[in-house]
Symmetry: C2
């Protein structure tokens, strides 16, 4: 590290190559002559220079930036799927920028706006769903291709990639009905999670298909503290003996984790063994679900497949370029993860 390099101009002069050629090198090292490349790389060894990414993107036709927006990074589900999407982008040679809307649908709009400045090649958006600003997303998509994942919005974005919640919930309902009492459904009155409505609907349909009458228990609660709400409100229902069967299907794993905690505190024996008196199941295969006591029976979404498909679908849009394909929806199947809680 000799002296400070302030910009590409300076770096070009110390490496003995013209600035436009250096610029070309940084865009694609293979695009310059071998002897030139070696000179530049020798200079890179000696001097500490990194092109200013934001200045790079300022005047580019097409950048390698990909915006990734999720509703709430504090939720391990989104943190996990966000991470996978980030890695998939990096692997494809793009630079992902992961933004969290902190549980606030208005911030989703703000996030899309700040992304505009980045001139991303495309955006991967896990929207709030019906809480999202449809018009904002649509008009954004008119400029920059958006692929939705996790939660769908009808006719918004170029594509949607997610889980077939009707299939996955049916899998769980079928298993629960077959192996014991039919499940009640436990959820929040005003769910923030975009797929909660799908889960309830899927539960109802599936129960009816199995000749059972649906039993839904909806509790109050605001915000994203799902475990807390599940624990407090679920605990109340449990101690009141309010649930109509001994089997409870929770709207998602975070909710189930709270209920599990309440059940433990109240002395219930949760599980499917003969000595047990309560079964609890969730949905999503939350990173911590395998460590609950007992380990949580749940539905695993195929994070990996969803992340990879979202990324490849988006990239197909601007890499081939040509004919913009029809908006397509791809649903991956959920997998039943049988652990000990149900």
């Amino acid at each position: 590290m000799q002296r400070k390099i302030r910009n590409m101009e300076e770096f070009a002069s110390v490496s003995g190559i013209s600035r436009p050629t250096v610029s070309k090198y940084f865009n694609d090292p293979e695009s310059v002559r071998v002897s030139t490349r070696k000179k530049i790389e020798a200079a890179l060894e000696e001097y500490d220079y990194h092109p200013n990414v934001f200045a790079m993107n300022q005047n580019r036709r097409t950048t390698k930036n990909i915006g990734v927006v999720v509703p709430n990074l504090a939720d391990p589900f989104f943190s996990e799927i966000g991470r996978r999407v980030e890695l998939a982008c990096i692997e494809a040679g793009y630079s992902p920028i992961l933004l969290s809307s902190h549980g606030n649908p208005e911030m989703e709009r703000d996030n899309l706006n700040s992304l505009k400045s980045l001139k991303p090649a495309g955006v991967l958006l896990a929207p709030f769903g019906r809480l999202s600003d449809t018009d904002a997303v649509k008009s954004f998509d008119a400029e920059i291709p958006v692929v939705l994942f996790d939660a769908n919005m009808p006719d918004v974005g170029r594509a949607f990639v997610g889980t077939d919640h009707f299939q996955s919930v049916d899998l769980m309902v079928e298993y629960l009905c077959r192996s014991g009492e039919p499940p009640c459904f436990f959820e929040m009155k005003k769910p923030l999670n975009p797929n909660a409505n799908k889960h309830r609907q899927a539960y109802i349909e599936s129960m009816e298909r199995h000749g059972q009458t649906p039993n839904i228990f909806r509790v109050n609660g605001e915000g994203w503290d799902f475990e807390e709400i599940g624990k407090v409100e679920g605990g109340r229902l449990l101690s009141d003996g309010a649930f109509s069967t001994n089997t409870i299907l929770c709207s998602n794993d975070r909710f189930a984790i709270g209920l599990l905690s309440a059940a433990y505190g109240l002395g219930f024996k949760v599980g499917h063994g003969p000595e047990c008196n309560l079964r609890i199941a969730g949905h999503d295969d939350h990173p911590f679900s395998r460590f609950t006591c007992p380990p949580l029976t749940t539905i695993a979404q195929d994070y990996e497949a969803i992340a990879n498909r979202s990324v490849s679908t988006l990239f197909a849009l601007f890499e081939k370029g040509q004919v913009p394909p029809e908006r397509q929806e791809k649903l991956f199947e959920g997998r039943l993860i049988m652990r000990e809680s149900a």
Copy 2:
């Protein structure tokens, strides 16, 4: 929303104000005449224009950007403290950019490099500690003020804000010794977590102060799957009856969650009641620790205080500006959170 506004020039012309004045408005709306402000805000109502943040920062002496770098956002501990830091910055009128190093110390360097392009006013860094690239952080700090939080690096950065782990671990050891058998210490052989070494040292010193002999159990395991390692390796130790007492202090909560899960599977009764045969405690008050079965006794770090102090320390550096104060270290006390696991 009439027609598309492409840049400040266009927006200035439709609002009937000159571009430099509009620019002034966006930097500080109070700095322009009331009549001018009203014209601009009327135009803002009518047209959809947002200044390009990156172009804004390109030529600014001092931006309102704050870089925030944490080792691993997939770890709820960092996700939580990262969130708090973000919010504290926003509240102070700054724009935080939260970057995760994905558990990879090399990516920490990359993150600092990309931050340079953003010309942040300052950076809040939770480093890997001894795994971090000391020289890289130091030379970065020479240009842009860095405040370290969570993990310290001697003589690096303008300040450090964290928890007094010697105090906090002592609190726990004291409690455990007083209320039952003295604790063993359970950790990974090669801990990635920057504060793991502090925890071990603090445990040893504290045990000796209490006239007890330290008992440390270190297990193999790579990566960030702390729960899994805690469950598998801890479970092995438990079923071998390897622990020398019935009380186990885990290096952190994620580890404890894994051990708790193993203990449950092996039929241990975890808790401090008379019918229990195992006590497990952790450190950090992980967001999920209150929902484990039984709820985890642990040490709470003062997330809020650490986040706020880090932010205010950094801001004091460039807001007053004048005399750069001595490097200072602020340690907040941990709080003993007595729940049911120990």
